[in-house]
């Protein structure tokens, strides 16, 4: 039995868990190719125009897999925390996939909904496992192994790795963790920032400019929870809460010199969260902040210019503080 996992949306958080689970159950797992032009084009063609780019790209990934697998894993992820949601589009994901693509293989579209409580967890796991085996013991065992895999993945991320460094098991790739002078906080949905194609390789580009990139996933969960609780009303989007927590925390950290928020055009959650973060960053800190918006029409040249200018801004400010000669000074004190 061959199961396809699309390399999109929450793949970047959960692929070790999903893959281990299905593999332990005896299935062969195929992950769609890394996002490329063809995948994006296919997705754009088969999704309503108003959907956000990550959804379109996800549809493209499903299309990449559909003729190669017996089953395709498109969970209906409503909620992963009590009283929180992910996003309306995640709630309707299997429906959107079905309406966009014809001749699909059977879909594992199990509803994952822990909005009320996590009580339903084992029921959800059995439902997923049942596509492969009815043996509950086997499913329990597979899930246990998968969870372990997930935990160790999370530990690596908290130790400063980014999913982009860990993909394809290239764990011991030559990465210089935190060796660079300037630390930048990159915020954004995992499927925007960790997809090298969609993000136009922003992480690597910043590293080339000698910037150390950390993300909302690099911080301690407890700290972020505390910081996010500053808001009068609890944020009911899991991702939004995490990002706000990370941003509020970063605002107070001296060694973080700038914040970049990478958003996809039309993302409802980003429109709210990024605005709050931008306002608070400007009000409460002197850190440079920039919002980069991407969609399928975004040109790489424009993004590069913004990244370069942002880097200049940080360096320029740094120089000024240390009383080195600066462009500005040089010019204005003539």
């Amino acid at each position: 039995m061959k199961i396809g996992i699309p390399r999109g949306l929450l793949y970047y958080y959960y692929y070790p868990l999903w893959r281990k689970f299905f593999e332990t159950l005896g299935a062969q797992v195929l992950i769609s190719k890394k996002t490329n032009k063809k995948i994006v084009d296919n997705g754009v063609k088969n999704t309503v125009d108003d959907a956000c780019l990550p959804i379109k790209v996800y549809i493209g990934h499903v299309m990449d897999l559909k003729n190669q697998v017996d089953l395709i894993f498109v969970p209906k992820m409503m909620s992963i925390h009590k009283d929180e949601y992910i996003c309306p589009k995640f709630c309707g994901l299997p429906e959107m996939v079905r309406s966009g693509i014809k001749d699909l293989p059977q879909m594992i579209d199990t509803t994952i909904d822990f909005h009320k409580s996590k009580k339903k967890l084992s029921k959800t796991v059995y439902e997923m496992g049942n596509y492969i085996t009815k043996d509950r013991k086997k499913i329990d065992f597979a899930f246990e192994k998968a969870l372990k895999e997930h935990e160790s993945y999370k530990v690596q991320i908290k130790n400063g790795m980014l999913p982009i460094d860990l993909e394809d098991h290239k764990i011991f790739k030559n990465i210089n963790l935190h060796r660079r002078k300037v630390k930048i906080l990159l915020l954004g949905h995992p499927y925007n920032i960790y997809d090298a194609y969609l993000s136009m390789n922003i992480i690597e580009k910043l590293r080339e400019h000698n910037m150390d990139v950390i993300t909302q996933d690099s911080f301690d969960t407890k700290v972020m929870n505390e910081k996010a609780a500053i808001m009068d009303k609890k944020i009911f989007w899991s991702f939004g809460r995490k990002v706000i927590g990370a941003a509020f925390y970063a605002m107070e950290q001296k060694d973080i010199q700038g914040i970049i928020y990478l958003s996809s055009f039309g993302c409802g959650i980003d429109s709210v969260i990024a605005d709050i973060i931008e306002r608070r960053t400007r009000r409460n800190s002197d850190k440079p902040f920039i919002l980069l918006t991407i969609d399928e029409h975004t040109g790489e040249a424009g993004i590069n210019t913004r990244i370069e200018a942002f880097v200049d801004m940080i360096k320029w400010r740094g120089k000024n503080e240390n009383n080195f000669s600066t462009y500005g000074k040089n010019l204005s004190t003539r």
Binding site: N36, K37, T293, A309, D312, M313, L331, R334
Partner: protein, 327 residues
């Protein structure tokens, strides 16, 4: 010999070249339409500048900026290849040392740059479309059959404002036609268009930005006095237009080149002769992965100088390319 510096801004609409002396005085400026042929334009520009310059001038440094900065930089041998935001910021600071806000509107793009204490503080570039850029006005001017140069004059004649709705140039056009059909004055409509552009600009780029005075307005559109007035009306501040408003990017690049060569001690400038060389650009679709990147190969007199356009670096980092570049 007089030490001079070249600044070249290769934009999508126009290519601007300026010559600046060691005292940062602008000796000459040149503005040509790029018309999608950056190489031809740069060649043309360089040879024109060369013929216009005094014989005792020697170029001590070159800076390129604009969306074609990499291409131009490789071609000319630039000492500095800088993004246009920094370049514009540098140039404006040179003009008004305590400038806090730079409004830059060009043909197809626009920027807002905020500076505090002479340091780049925040910026934004237009994202969604061309609503807050010159092409918004260009298109309507064409439609109204009024030369773009006279647009500002017409706007100033207006006594009352007509509201033109629409962020997108296409929608604004239909609303403008609608207003014409309702019998509004030509000058009021033109003024309405100027204000629509300013509103679009501020909604798109100015959002959440604290626009403080002094404000500098630069870029090709700054020549339009109607838009300058609209900004002043809506912002409530005086808006300054610097003397070389349409070539500020190039000035910034020249200033940066001066600083860079002072550090490096010499220039990488390849000389005006680059204008006499033959350049060929070939592109092919890479077939190594589904990205199907369009790779561009740049040759000078048949010699391969550089390749770009690939996402993975297979071609741009190609060894042979580098060797030939050194040769």
């Amino acid at each position: 010999m007089r030490k001079c510096y070249l600044g070249v801004d290769i934009g999508s609409v126009s290519t601007n070249i300026i010559v600046m002396d060691a005292d940062e005085q602008i000796l000459d400026t040149l503005y040509i339409r790029t018309q999608g042929k950056p190489i031809e334009t740069i060649k043309k520009g360089l040879s024109q500048i060369k013929n216009r310059l005094d014989k005792d001038i020697e170029i001590y440094g070159v800076g390129t900026t604009g969306s074609g900065r990499q291409l131009g930089g490789i071609m000319i041998g630039a000492d500095v290849i800088k993004n246009e935001i920094t370049a514009h910021g540098i140039a404006a600071l040179n003009f008004v040392p305590d400038v806090k806000t730079i409004i830059e509107i060009g043909g197809q793009d626009s920027k807002i740059i905020l500076l505090r204490d002479g340091v780049l503080y925040d910026f934004a570039m237009n994202t969604v479309c061309a609503a807050g850029t010159g092409s918004f006005i260009d298109r309507q001017a064409e439609r109204l059959d009024i030369p773009i140069e006279e647009f500002g004059k017409w706007a100033l004649k207006s006594k009352s404002t007509v509201r033109i709705a629409g962020r997108c140039a296409v929608f604004a056009e239909s609303d403008m036609i609608h207003k014409q059909q309702l019998g509004h004055n030509q000058e009021d409509i033109i003024n309405g268009l100027c204000e629509a552009l300013v509103r679009n600009y501020l909604n798109n780029l100015g959002k959440g930005k604290e626009i403080k005075s002094p404000v500098i307005f630069q870029g090709g559109v700054a020549a339009n006095i109607g838009i300058k007035r609209a900004f002043e009306k809506i912002l409530g501040y005086e808006v300054m237009v610097p003397p070389h408003a349409n070539v500020m990017g190039a000035i910034g690049a020249a200033l940066l080149a001066k600083e860079e060569t002072a550090k490096a001690g010499e220039s990488k400038f390849k000389g005006f002769e680059v204008a006499d060389s033959n350049y060929t650009v070939k592109s092919f679709e890479c077939e190594y992965c589904p990205n199907m990147c369009e790779v561009v190969e740049f040759r000078r007199d048949e010699k391969m100088v550089a390749r770009w356009g690939d996402k993975c670096g297979r071609w741009s980092h190609d060894k042979t390319a580098k060797d030939e570049k050194l040769a």
